[in-house]
Amino acid sequence: MSAELTAAVALERRGKPLDRRTKLWSVRLIFVVFWLGSWELAATHWIDPFFYSKPSAIWERLVDWFGTGTAFGSVWTQLFITLEEAVLGFVIGAVAGVVLGILLGRARFVAEVAAPFIKAANAVPRIVLASLFIIWFGLGLTSKVATAVVLVFFAVFFNAFQGAREVDRNLVNNARILGASRTQVLTSIVVPSATSWIFASLHAAFGFALIGAVVGEYAGADKGLGLLIANAQGTFDAAGIYAGMIIITVVALLAEWLLTLLENRLLRWRPPVQTSGEQRA
């Protein structure tokens, strides 16, 4: 990403900005065409499409799903179910993470007491909990939301915690001198300072919420994209697995775009140097 940015900057120094954009997108397009083309060609002539599938087959599967529907009903229903689980898990996990992170970040003693427990909880392979949640909550919505919540919570919690700890002491002292109560210091100084930290984690967190929902469905469900993928695996349908992956990727990209819009609105006060939006889930 950064190499690409440097290249973009270098290009900007020469020619017009429109020129640069066209060039950038043409190169990207050529890359995608070359990649898909060579895959298609290889799958037609040399490698076994049964294992590796090929772009045209994946495309057909997508058209089939969106046109006539899946083995479990309309693809939109599956998508809606997964989204519902992911969004619920995201919201609950993020709110809990932000609130607990900030409170613990400001309460030194409690934070010290809790530190080893938090470390241990974070070291647990949380994705395995998906199986446990299915035993606890059944095959429905709740078990998937629970998996997503657990994944989102820790991602957000650690950043909110760190953000609340790194608050500039000067700002806190200044607010106290100006007459702020403890609660006012929390709402007017600590929360806004931690917002950049929190947003940095929210980008990755929505990805985690989707992973939680899909893995939850994969572990056992009667609806959802995870079920589609699990079913495709069961029937050795590689194209179906790819198709499910593509749908999830598109959803994640859309969510990322929405979050960036919200972030730019809420963090208007930052000088426009803008990080490149490079986040990894």
């Binding site: 000067n170 002292n173 200044n174 607010a175 001198i177 100006l178 007017s188 208007r268 000088p271």
Partner: protein, 265 residues
């Protein structure tokens, strides 16, 4: 009427290797209502620490600090404090930064903003009231901090090298502005600086501190009439005579501080 009184005030910080580090020792001086006191001394001697004692942000290790005749425990009423480093909120516009104090003190958003606008105007930032701090110059940010402090109408004004980061022209402008805004408010001011010219131009009395651990070396009266124009006053014979007298005292401390610094460095 005495507003601020320090009696043998001492502050120790936990230092390296278990040895407590004495930042200031046996400070004794008073500031009356409507009086402007400047504190000068070499960098690192304990000037900021002195202000933090008066503001109640740090408790004294021994001795007494009184504001309005009562011992300081927590932040006393009516204190305004301009910090050495930038302390305005980067996520609030100019007017909302200035409105912070009134908001904390229970005014409605609209009333707080109205009150803030008056002060934004007084420090000459009316055209920038909607700007965020990153869009302002260093001098403008200092003006915001000044308005933010003065909007609370403090009776005790603590200022920690507020103009030291500014260029000479802006600094003189701000000094004049400060005198104009302060005059007639009856506020007691402690103004910390390492610039002796600034101290004399602004203050009624100048406190000279020794190099670390700081204590008071001498206190000088400044025999200059008010109202003052800081650019003009620098040329007068009284100013130059006062400067010479205080510099005699300060010079040794600055030299000693340098010696220690070069030995450490």
């Amino acid at each position: 009427m005495t507003v601020i009184a320090l009696r043998n005030a001492t502050k120790r910080f936990p230092g390296t290797g278990g040895q407590p580090h004495t930042a200031v020792r046996d400070l004794t001086f008073e500031v009356a209502a409507g009086e402007f006191v400047a504190v000068v001394g070499p960098t690192g001697c304990g000037k900021s620490t002195t202000l933090s004692l008066v503001s109640g942000l740090e408790p004294a290790s021994s001795g007494e600090v009184e504001v309005d005749g009562t011992l300081v425990r927590g932040i006393p009423d009516g204190v305004g404090y301009m910090f050495q480093t930038d302390a305005i909120m980067p996520w609030r516009s100019v007017v909302d930064n200035v409105a912070a104090g009134p908001r904390y003190r229970g005014l409605s958003r609209a009333d707080a903003r109205r009150k803030a606008m008056v002060w934004v105007d007084r420090v000459g930032l009316a055209a920038f009231s909607g700007y965020y701090p990153y869009q302002l110059s260093g001098g403008m940010r200092k003006r915001v901090a000044l308005a933010q402090t003065l909007v609370n109408e403090p009776r005790i004004l603590l200022m920690d090298e507020p103009f030291s980061a500014l260029d000479v022209q802006t600094r003189q402008l701000m000094q004049d502005e400060l005198l104009r805004l302060w005059q007639g408010t009856g506020a007691a001011v402690i103004f910390v600086t390492h610039d002796l010219e600034e101290a004399i131009a602004l203050a009624d009395r100048v406190v000279v501190m020794t190099s670390s651990p700081a204590t008071i070396k001498a206190i000088f009266d400044v025999p200059l009439a008010r109202p003052r124009e800081v650019e003009e006053i620098r040329m007068t014979p009284e100013f130059i005579a006062t400067y010479r007298e205080i510099w005699e005292s300060l010079r040794d401390e600055v030299a000693r501080a340098r010696e220690v610094a070069s030995r450490v460095g």
